[in-house]
């Protein structure tokens, strides 16, 4: 019994440590894949599956973006994730951009945003069809316009 408790504890700690390392690696990889840009911020997301018929669980981040700067928003889904991560950028209620265009069914690993108005914007990250999942969004600085 003592051995079992000991093994469970070790496994739990190892699992936590490995998961933290996985996400850290995914973040570095995702930032590296964003291209010839400068990393500014990451959004690590882990969401449970949504309820049937309900809105998909979504992580939301408020960001202050500056005029005349081109930002790149990238998304990466963890390999063990059930759902595929989607990043959307909003200005109040207006959807400005998304890594998934539902009208065409096309996915993009990232999109650039040419900011013309300094202000607070929102990044939403969710998983397709409200599935559970883990992923990382990256915001990078591309250039000054």
């Amino acid at each position: 019994m003592k051995k079992l408790i000991f093994l469970c504890t070790v496994c739990a700690f190892l699992s936590i440590a490995l998961k933290a390392q996985d996400i850290s690696q995914l973040t570095a990889q995702c930032a590296g894949n964003a291209g010839d840009v400068m990393y500014l911020k990451d959004f690590v997301v882990k969401l449970d599956q949504g309820t049937p018929g309900g809105a998909p669980p979504t992580a939301r981040y408020a960001l202050l973006l500056n005029k005349s700067i081109v930002y790149r928003f990238s998304i990466c889904t963890a390999p063990n994730s059930d759902g595929e991560a989607v990043l959307q950028l909003f200005d109040l209620n207006t959807l400005l951009g998304s890594t998934f265009i539902s009208a065409t069914g096309k996915d993009y690993p990232s999109f650039d945003f040419k900011c013309q108005k300094t202000g607070v914007y929102h990044v939403f990250i969710s998983f397709k069809e409200g599935k559970s999942g883990e992923g990382v969004g990256i915001m990078s600085y591309v250039k000054k316009l």
Binding site: A17, L40, A62, Y108
Partner: protein
Amino acid sequence: MPKILSILLLILAVAAGSCKSGGSGENAGGEIPDSILNEGVEISEEVMQDIVQNISSPVEMAAMIKDLGVPFSNKYISPTDRVGNLTTSFQQSLNLGIYAADLGYLNMNNKTSAVVDYLTAIKTLSDAIKVGQFFDFTTLKRLATNSKNLDSLMYISVHSFNQMDKYLHSNNRTNLSALMVTGVWIEGLYLGTQVYKATPNQALAERIGEQKLTLDQLMLILDKYQRDNQYTVLLEELQKLKSLFSSVVIYTKKGEPQMVEVDGMLTIVGGDESIVEITPDLLNNIINTTEQVRNKLINL
């Protein structure tokens, strides 16, 4: 049984020490928790999280200045020889932000010889406020010795700063996070205004004027801690700037966002455009006051 207990304690100790990338754990700071500082809180923690994100980046102002083609000057950065005099968590957090912004400026301009001093200063201060585990000093120092590693150096520096910020948030120490962000902001503004003074530029003038919005957000956060004497002094200093920024006019020209795809890359052009109106006199006042406030803050 005692043997198993000691093994478990050992594992616990190792796990606590290896939380470098996890961003979770106990409040190790020995600081006054937010709950004590914030009696009569008016802003919920959820809203705080909303506000704080990306208020000020340790590299964005430096990147913009570099893109404008303005040459580097070490006159604009804060000297590191005063780190030993910074003894309170208030001073340490504020100056951690200031040095993070300076590090961004140095890295951006590939000034690797000076970078090590700033890495050392940040390491000392981050250890002092118990977030040093997120700052991989050895790797950063190694990367700083080779100019070919600039991308990695930039990534690890900024990521470390973000990790510290996240950790402080998740451990109920948002007061220190707010100070770090304030330090980054005031140093970024100081850098921008000093550069403008030396090489006036319309884009930079607009960027300085837009700081009105950032300062509003920042003061909203800091107001939460005004019961503490040190924060009162900080708020008084920032209020001087806020009074000036209140005369900056910012309005929005409405427009429709556009989306284009070129070679598989999606680009979105924001529809609305912000217009900043700032008179030369007002700009000069902001430049001078920023210098005074920043110099006072680094000596608080």
